[in-house]
Assembly symmetry: C2
Homo-oligomer: 321 residues x 2
Amino acid sequence: MSTADPPRFDGVRCLIMGGGGFLGVHLANALADQGAVVRAFGRTPADPRELSDRVQWKNGRFEDPVAVAEAVRGQEIVFHLLSSSVPGSPGQRPAFDLETNVLGTLRFLDICNDAAVRKIVFASSGGTVYGQADSHPIPETAPTYPISAYGVGKLAIEKYLSLYHHLYGLEYLALRIANAYGPGQSILKRQGVVAAMLDRALAGKPLEIWGDGEVVRDFVHIDDVISAFLWAVTYDGPHRVMNVGSGVGLSINQVASDIEAIAGTAELARTYRAGRAADVPINILDISLVTRETPWRPRRGWLDGLQGTARWMTARRHASL
Amino acid sequence: MSTADPPRFDGVRCLIMGGGGFLGVHLANALADQGAVVRAFGRTPADPRELSDRVQWKNGRFEDPVAVAEAVRGQEIVFHLLSSSVPGSPGQRPAFDLETNVLGTLRFLDICNDAAVRKIVFASSGGTVYGQADSHPIPETAPTYPISAYGVGKLAIEKYLSLYHHLYGLEYLALRIANAYGPGQSILKRQGVVAAMLDRALAGKPLEIWGDGEVVRDFVHIDDVISAFLWAVTYDGPHRVMNVGSGVGLSINQVASDIEAIAGTAELARTYRAGRAADVPINILDISLVTRETPWRPRRGWLDGLQGTARWMTARRHASL
């Protein structure tokens, strides 16, 4: 076995909070592949065509402490991927975000603590916690002044995890994930610019771009994100916050061009819409810490990953016609 | 007028949220002295022997949006000193802290935003937001991993202030204040180790010390804290978070010895109690930023400040006998 092979989790009881989402479904299936006994918790079940039948599904709301406590009972490793908002949530409702995500997570941490969970792996947000960084790529030690309510919420959760670690010894690792993309990403939930643009390109519609398209993002393939989660479980070094991205920046206009090339269309008309206040102009993560501390590396190249996503989306379109 | 004289605020309408507390009463009186039209808001009125009758008192709870909105209406500068918890709150109730302080402050920021308040000066906590710092004195750029719920709450409020500044242009300055002490500090509210120990020494009782007494703190006199608040109003440079302390560290055992010397007692017996998980071993603030960016300097020497506090406390004891 090379160091690049993901770790095994034979018989380890793993719970995924937010198991029906883009990351959650991939993570649940990957954990099951690695031998774990996987339970997934969420509000709406994942598409059964996507979620492995080896994964036990638990339906429930994060706001329901009884349902959450039942889901957590007996679990060793808990992945916290739940969020009631997305980075560009319209209206920026910070109080809503604080109540549902942060306060909800605090109650959840109490439950995990009582249940003697071995470790929590938290999906933080490399794209939002830093806000407008002075320089790129951004290391974990950079200042954190998010310009979205979503980002402040993620950051506050990191701080509470650190507090619970100090007070109660609760183990955790927070992964500050860049812009994940890949097969399985929903177009409806406004999660990803790659999915949204690919969908329009494959339908021959003009691409919609927020701002002037010169916004730069760090796109990381879902397979790489998932393997980072697996390595996060086994990591037992001193760091508790790690960036996970490709370490490379791409402008939205570049993404649009690459998508047009892959979709085989001539250059489509592009619709430029007003930029959003919650969007930072540039976000590229410094991934030297995670690559130094764990065997993890980003392995999926951008164009290869994009082609795979386009193939999945095409098959999906045909299946639903 | 030397640059050391505090700025004037003739006719400026200033509101102090938490105007009945230790900092609030001193700040209200100082603002009135400098010509401001001062309104103070709080749950319980301050001692009328302490609060100037030039200050308008508004009774209300922070959780009552109608009362808060009424207090904020027409105000130009708002000082946010309110907190429902203290650094060493027993039980560490993070959810309570989050709901009352952080969520309450978010609603309060919405009100200030709607009322077109010119600037908010926030009393953050230099003693708790950094957690266990790697080196001392601690600059504002140091990592922030608080080990108390109080500290996480203060830090989260700083992040929301930054968010509101970005989204809505709301102006603010957060002062990360060290351990304030001086006349007016309550013994009952467990706010300050200096007040608590002075009170016992003056009564001839043994001093109570948490831990082994080798915990180091940065004690800053209330007069210096208040003048930092005044300078914070006029500061219009790029920084929005500033440490305010003496820049000097003193162990609790040193404080005890100095208090015994001032109280004129022989060395009193000392009672050592178990340390608290929320106490960092050492906290000394780097105050070079605020001294570079503003005319503010800490002016009250430690022993002089301590003697003044002892005189006030003695007079107070005699008055209430």
